[in-house]
Amino acid sequence: MTATPRLARKAREAEPDIDQLLDFLYQMQLIRRFEERTGEMYTKGKVRGFLHLYTGQEACAVGALATLQPQDKVVTHYRDHGHAIARGMDPNRVMAELFGRQDGVSGGRGGSMHLYDASIGFLGGYAIVAAHLPLAVGLGLAANMKKENFVTLCVFGDGSVGEGEFHEALNLAVLWNTPVVFFCENNLYGMGVSFQESLSTQVTTLAAAYNMPAVSVDGMDVTAVYRETLKAVEHCRAGKGPYFVEAMTYRYRGHSMADPELYRLKDEVEKYRKRDAIDRLKARLMEGGHLDGAGWEAIVERVEKVVEDSIAFADASPNPPIDTLFRYVTKEPGDA
């Protein structure tokens, strides 16, 4: 089974048109509800293990991934459901993977933090923080060596910045002129530690120190994310080397399902909820006369159906077989 990356009906324009904005709204709402319902599935015991929800950050995935072409690649961190869906991964198969079932994208081997679907250039969620940054540079190197014009979008959290691999990857990406967009979702915290306590400078200052163009953008404004990431992607595609985008955002839920959230005040969460990306885009479209109450209701209904279908699909999918667990330890002749 292969999916098609959500894509580009036409060449990317610097400013999204109304159709595209309506699609952004739909996608953000889809991710929002997918995550909320996933949280409920966790409480019900359908999803187990470690679960990190993406609510609040939807504009990052939707705005950034909308700038990509089918041949482009995405690697991301473990908070990866939103990116997977924005890239066009079938929500049914994402939910099935979260349930650990046979029809999940990795047949239940991966789970929430390790989604993967090469057919849409989604080359993985990674739960070892910052481990995928050098990997992205390797993809960029491959693009250069094979003379293929694909861009790698590498998404990570502010927590990555402390790891040595972050610095090694940025340096090498510049030295070797690799087409990699480093996309930092700065949600102010790495688990319970605020990023000011983790970093001696600004994220973009660091990127600039490696001689990489770097921009910081309102990550709760989908149009702004789209606009700035598009510049970054085009820069890469033109062979000008890597580019850094820092998206300032906020996660509404705890770090994971087991986070008592002692490090922040309820007020702070409320403050950011007032800047909600979905509410803002919805208001903007309504003010412009491009969306009315009925139009919004239609989006909500469409989303509910997709999300409920994904749960039904996951629930109906069988548990994965045990007797094939020794398969694919290594690639064998004849493997598909």
Partner: protein
Amino acid sequence: MAQVTVIEAIRSALDEEMAADDRVFILGEDVEAGGVFRVTEGLAAKYPGRLIDSPLAESSIIGITIGAAHYGLRPVAEIQFADFIHAGFDHMASEASRWCYRTKGDAFLPMVVRTPWGGGVHGGQHHSQSIEAYYTHLPGIKVVAPSFPSDYRSLLKAAIADPNPVLFLEHKRTYRLIKQEAGEPGETVIGRSRVTRKGSDLTIFAYGLMLHESLAAADELAAEGTECTVVDLLTLQPLDVETVLEAAKATGKVLVVHEDTLTGGFGGEIAALIAEHAFEYLDAPIRRVCGPDIPAMPFHHNMESFFMPDRTKIAAAARDLAAY
């Protein structure tokens, strides 16, 4: 004395060592607030400035621990999950393990690296690993892997007092598994294993969560009339060779259990040692019940159960062995 969980036992050991010696400090991710498993909860308020939150930087956490230990402090580093320690492996292998050796004993490293390991929590490939075998291969590093609260407590105190680098492995499924009296320090020492249960038919060697599973299997077999000796290895490096050989010789039948994958796992070392030094005492081939040779803990709970050895699998192997 009160009954405590493993978490509480570890916390009390840290607390007492910090109270007794102000060179002891804790370095790791989120440790100030108590850490993911709440082990260090409450200590920051009690010992201001001695719980240091690090950004995500495992390589540097271990490297810095070496530097601080070298200059007279007694750092206890926490790596949030054993799965994240690999970036720091270089420091452990290339520096910590040989510091004493290359300076002919002039320099030494009184440091501890604590880390939660093991599966059974649906953590999938990046939150379930067993890492002991990488480190038992490094002479110069001590590797400790307890199972009971009292041993966690006394071995952690011993590790902090030890002038050598100690990798202190905390199986996360044992954290809240049982409560027990905390025990006095010194009751368990680094480098000694313990016969936890005595039986004449066969000997099971285990550590960590698998020790508990082995004891449960031994109960099952006892009900069928087969008596097992169960040895809690406790320290993997340096290994208590004497206790291992004695326990093997006493029954002539040996079952080695670990959660780590079979090939290259620590069980091979136990088997080799017994084959080398107790061959004439053996009445059956040595058996191993270990994780399968697949590269990562799969996510779905059925698959995870397939991966994890447990009392049923251990009892089945023990039954076979007893009948041999």
